[in-house]
């Protein structure tokens, strides 16, 4: 396909959701800790149903979620409370979280909202016990240095973590989340990815966001000329963003081509499904044989189009199947892909005959309980009719590799309702003015290179490191940058590669070790073994003792004398050039617990004595 995105009229925007690393959740006093499901202390279940907006409208997306009545189960923990359970009104908005969001807004040159109103955004997929996500618009109209426009910044609560299907864990619910939305100002897949990276850098620069997989999620809004706006949810890997954009553009192009083909052929969709249950009573396809009902619909002059690929691994049929699944069915079969899945040629022939289908037509069947079947076939007809319009406006979810599947219709403004249990928050100009702008990581990298002489890669590693502030503190206290970097970065990376759990090493302990090295108590060569001992849970003194036992100058002299005596032949042979190799032997024996300079001095003296004696 064409790579000329300007010609395609590609328009994209991005929404970034990032968890904030606050002490407490957004609307309760629970800690923002993620738990293991095994640690749960209780469970309950609920049903949710769509409610109307204060304008009296029902949101389309919510309405579609209501097609099936589902029971949602939730796990509770000793770190969750009645607010997560939707059993207590929310506490006032967490001001620590608001300050972080306002700071980011300030970095992006945005205008803060004078009085912040918390809203309820209807979400009835079970991920919020209340059936809504609390969200507040905090600032508007900003711009990134690269030129991308930031439309809005919101402060939201994180949803519950889905364990499976309708089963959720409440530990994550309510963690503060910043949502940064760009305007539809991006026009190439690369621009989308670069903008996401830049926003990610700004977020990390605050030092107050959560880290790790799942703590940041990107939603991408995208359309092409004559296509339609599609929102792709939950892209977690930054590197996949451009691919997702490419594939969505490709999908929209393919759907537009199908639209043209449908028109050219004079295709049409039958309105009335046909009950074909009896045709498959002896089928080798277990799904069909066991189904209490099988309904079929004919798509006139559509042969080949339902099976046509529109994205890697996705066909028009996959789209119809996604719509049908909303009714609880497992999927559908279409004649573009049959015979297959246990359905034999004769069955296809009789199916086509039952619907008076010609070879130019396509027949789609669904098999399930009658109610589900009827619901699903209606959805299939709906989606088939949309193919004549081209690209439907949709919310989609990302699949592995960067293709996407239909989730629900795009929500409208009707899903917003005021959160009546939370007071509005005034943001005074003084409060906004007093917020300190953090150094951007890009600037930190440049500074580390210039001031500390680090290479770009090492400077980058250090700037993005969680140990960055400890690193800067020890340098300020007089430790050499190269040593500080080794302690807080390179050595830890090496140990981590060896499978050592470096997260157990506290910054303060590293500081203690660095002070000891600086004052000459320990040699810097002992850094690596000491850090490993710390990782095993040893205290700094213990770690030093084990990794580098104290050697007095007397003991050192004796060790050196012994080693030199043992190697006197070698020394006589090599002369002063023997110092280097023997130095290595000594250092190995004292395991770095003595400064190399001291060893070197004593060793030289000892060697010269050997050389002097005949």
């Amino acid at each position: 396909m064409s790579e000329d995105y300007a010609a395609l009229g590609l328009v994209a925007g991005i929404e970034i959701h990032q968890q904030l690393n606050t002490k407490e959740k957004l609307f309760c006093r629970c800690p923002t800790i993620i738990r293991e499901a095994e640690e749960a202390n209780g469970e309950f279940f609920r049903y949710l149903r769509a409610t109307k907006s204060e304008m009296g409208e029902l949101d389309r997306a919510a309405e579609e979620e209501m097609m099936q009545v589902r029971q949602f189960r939730y796990l509770t923990y000793d770190t969750t409370c009645l607010v997560e359970n939707d059993e207590e009104p929310p506490a006032p908005m967490n001001q620590e979280a608001l300050d972080i969001v306002l700071t980011i807004a300030k970095v992006c040159g945005m205008t803060p909202v004078p009085e912040i109103h918390t809203m309820r955004k209807l979400v009835i997929d079970g991920s919020n016990t209340s059936g809504f996500q609390r969200t507040a618009l905090v600032a508007m109209n900003g711009k990134l240095p690269g030129g991308a426009e930031i439309e809005t910044v919101c402060l939201e609560e994180e949803a519950a973590q889905r364990i499976e299907d309708t089963f959720f864990s409440l530990d994550r619910l309510g963690i503060p989340l910043i949502e940064i939305t760009t305007s539809p100002c991006l026009h190439t897949p690369e621009a989308v990815q670069e903008t996401a990276a830049q926003i990610g850098m700004i977020l990390r620069s605050t030092g107050r966001v959560k880290r790790g997989l799942g703590t940041i999620r990107q939603d991408i809004n995208i359309s092409i000329r004559e296509g339609a706006r599609v929102e792709i949810k939950g892209v977690q890997e930054l590197d996949l963003i451009s691919e997702v954009v490419r594939r969505e553009a490709q999908r929209q192009v393919a759907l537009l081509e199908i639209r043209e083909e449908l028109k050219k052929r004079g295709a049409s969709i039958e309105k009335t499904p046909v009950d074909v249950t009896s045709l498959f009573s002896e089928s080798k396809s277990r799904v069909l044989k066991n189904a209490s009902m099988i309904l079929a619909i004919k798509l006139n002059k559509c042969a080949g189009l339902v099976g046509r690929e529109i994205q890697p691994g996705r066909r028009l049929g996959s789209e119809m199947s996604d719509y049908a699944k909303k009714c609880g069915v497992g999927g559908l079969f279409h004649t573009d892909e049959l015979p297959a899945y246990g359905v034999i040629e004769e069955e296809v022939v009789s199916l086509k005959a039952a619907l008076s289908a010609s070879p130019e037509d396509c027949v789609i069947i669904v098999a399930d309980k009658p109610q589900r079947c009827q619901c699903a076939i209606k959805q299939i007809i709906r989606r088939a009719e949309m193919a004549f319009e081209g690209v439907p406006k949709e919310t989609r979810k990302m699949l592995e590799g960067g293709s996407t599947a239909y989730m629900r219709p795009l929500p409208g403004a009707a899903r917003m309702y005021p959160e009546t249990d939370v007071f509005q928050v005034r943001v005074t100009p003084e409060r906004f003015a007093d917020l300190e702008i953090p150094e951007m990581i890009d600037d930190t990298i440049a500074r580390y290179m210039k001031e500390f002489g680090l290479t770009r890669e090492v400077a980058r590693q250090m700037a993005y490191s969680e140990r960055r502030s400890a690193f800067e503190e020890v340098i300020a206290s007089g430790i050499k940058p190269a040593l500080a970097e080794r302690a807080f970065n390179s050595t830890l990376r090496e140990l981590s590669r060896e499978g050592i759990l470096i997260t157990r090493i506290a910054d303060d302990d590293i500081k203690t070790i660095l002070c000891a090295i600086n004052s000459g108590d320990i040699a810097k060569e002992a850094l690596s073994p000491i850090l490993s001992a710390l990782a095993e849970g040893k205290k700094p003194e213990e770690a030093c003792e084990i990794a580098a036992p104290k050697v007095t100058e007397n003991e050192l002299t004796l060790i050196i004398e012994r080693i030199v005596t043992e190697r006197s032949d070698f020394i006589r042979e090599r002369g002063n050039a023997a110092t280097g190799p023997i130095m290595g032997v000594v250092m190995k024996e004292v395991r770095g617990s003595v400064d190399g300079k001291v060893v070197n001095q004593i060793l030289r003296e000892s060697i010269s004595r050997v050389l002097k004696t005949p």
Partner: protein
């Protein structure tokens, strides 16, 4: 600018050089609420708004509910409360605004259970209830039963629902179920308990029950509702769905959700066991005094002239010796004084300790295992319907509507 703006007007907001468009909603204290096209509301100083166009708001559509004439008839008497509440832009908080018919819209499943007649008695949050409204409520329920209702649903705010249920229990002998129902989470949220409580309550109103009850969530899950006797029920939590508990008795039954299967306990009074009788007099000059250590006897003077006082005493039913002589004076001047316990669970016994005996000797009546607020409502009813002090005293110490258990099972 503000006086020219009407709810629904299109406005342009200008803020520090940047601007946006939205719909004007309301304003308070110089701050206007504007709904942006994204659906977000923001607060903006009113002077930052300029009118762009006129209101395009349409009245929310109210769907007419078609009723199945073959189904049994239930009357809904609505008084307001969370079960039928939504946002009020005047205060920004939740208020009750729905009419009784709106409840049928809010709980779509109801129409398949019965045909409903709607009576809107009032539309208040339950903290604004008064004994006078209890009386109107009892009369309205009486009239509906007389007119043929096979069950009554009373929608009520949860805060004082137990008081109202107790009041109706004393004023009305009923052959059919009179079911009080409310919700703890407002009806405008997808997780509201109004649907489940409403459905379970309606099913209870159709059941074989024949007394005044409260039906609310039985646990935090949406698994079942509990049926509580109107004179033994108490709101025991500020916000949880299962806040309502029967105290000192077994509950009267439960309703499984979503199957709506009703199970009644053996001690629940059955449909038709009582005749329909309304005795709606109440003596409003009654009050509850919560005793606390060191309480100044002078405080009790504020109650002078009251016909009845319920004391919520400590433990087995005590107050400090200091205030007993004041209580004696009050009783001498014609105030009936009933002792209950702050423990809520268990029976009053003033025969164990000296202060208790002193209280009995000055004429305080032991309130058995009456809940303090139920004792208050009962006292109002007893004093309103007795011809003599003696008769009142007698009624106070006898069970009238399941409010006293003679055996303490727990």
């Amino acid at each position: 600018m503000s006086e020219l703006l009407e709810t629904g007007d299109n406005v342009r907001c200008t803020l520090q050089g940047s601007s946006c468009e939205g719909t004007y909603i309301a304003s308070r204290n110089g701050m206007a609420t504007v709904k942006l096209t994204s659906g977000y509301n923001i607060g903006i100083p009113i002077e930052a708004l300029t009118k762009n166009g006129s209101s395009e708001m349409t009245e929310p559509k109210v769907l007419e509910v078609t009723q199945d004439k073959t189904l049994p008839c239930i009357s809904i008497v609505s008084t307001g409360g969370t079960i039928a509440s939504k946002i009020d832009y005047r205060t920004g908080a939740v208020t009750s605004q729905f009419r009784a018919t709106d409840i049928l819209n809010a709980i779509p499943g109801l129409a398949s259970l019965a045909q409903f007649r709607a009576v809107q008695l009032c539309n208040i949050l339950s903290e604004n209830m008064t004994p006078a409204i209890w009386q109107q409520l009892a009369r309205a329920i009486h009239d509906e039963i007389k007119a043929g209702a096979q069950g009554i649903l009373v929608t009520h705010g949860t805060d004082t629902m137990a008081y109202s249920a107790a009041a109706v229990s004393f004023m009305l002998k009923t052959p059919v179920p009179v079911v009080f129902v409310g919700s703890q989470r407002s009806a405008d949220r997808p997780s509201s308990d109004n649907v489940m409580n409403g459905m379970c309550a309606a099913k209870t109103a159709l059941s074989d029950l024949g007394e005044v009850v409260v039906v609310m969530h039985g646990s935090t899950s949406d698994d079942s509702c509990a049926i509580h006797r109107g004179t033994r029920v108490r709101k025991m939590h500020t916000s949880k769905r299962d806040a309502f508990q029967t105290i000192g008795q077994e509950k009267l039954g439960n309703i499984v959700y979503p199957s709506l299967e009703v199970t009644l306990s053996p001690h629940a009074i059955r449909r038709g066991a009582s005749e329909l009788i309304l005795k709606d007099n109440l003596e409003e000059k009654c009050g509850v005094v919560w005793y606390y250590p060191g309480m100044d006897p002078k405080i009790l003077s504020a109650w002078d002239g009251y016909k009845g006082i319920v004391l919520a005493g400590t433990g087995l039913g005590h107050v400090g010796t200091e205030i007993i002589s004041k209580i004696q004076d009050m009783i001498a001047s014609g105030t009936m004084v009933i002792m209950t316990s702050q423990c809520l669970h268990g029976r009053v016994c003033d025969r164990v300790y000296d202060t208790g005996r002193d209280l009995l000797s000055v004429g305080v009546i032991e309130g058995e295992d009456l809940l303090p607020e139920v004792a208050l409502v009962k006292l109002m009813w007893v004093l309103g319907n007795s011809k003599s002090q003696e008769e009142a005293r007698n009624l106070m110490t006898h069970n009238i509507a399941g409010e006293i258990s003679w055996r303490s099972a727990e």
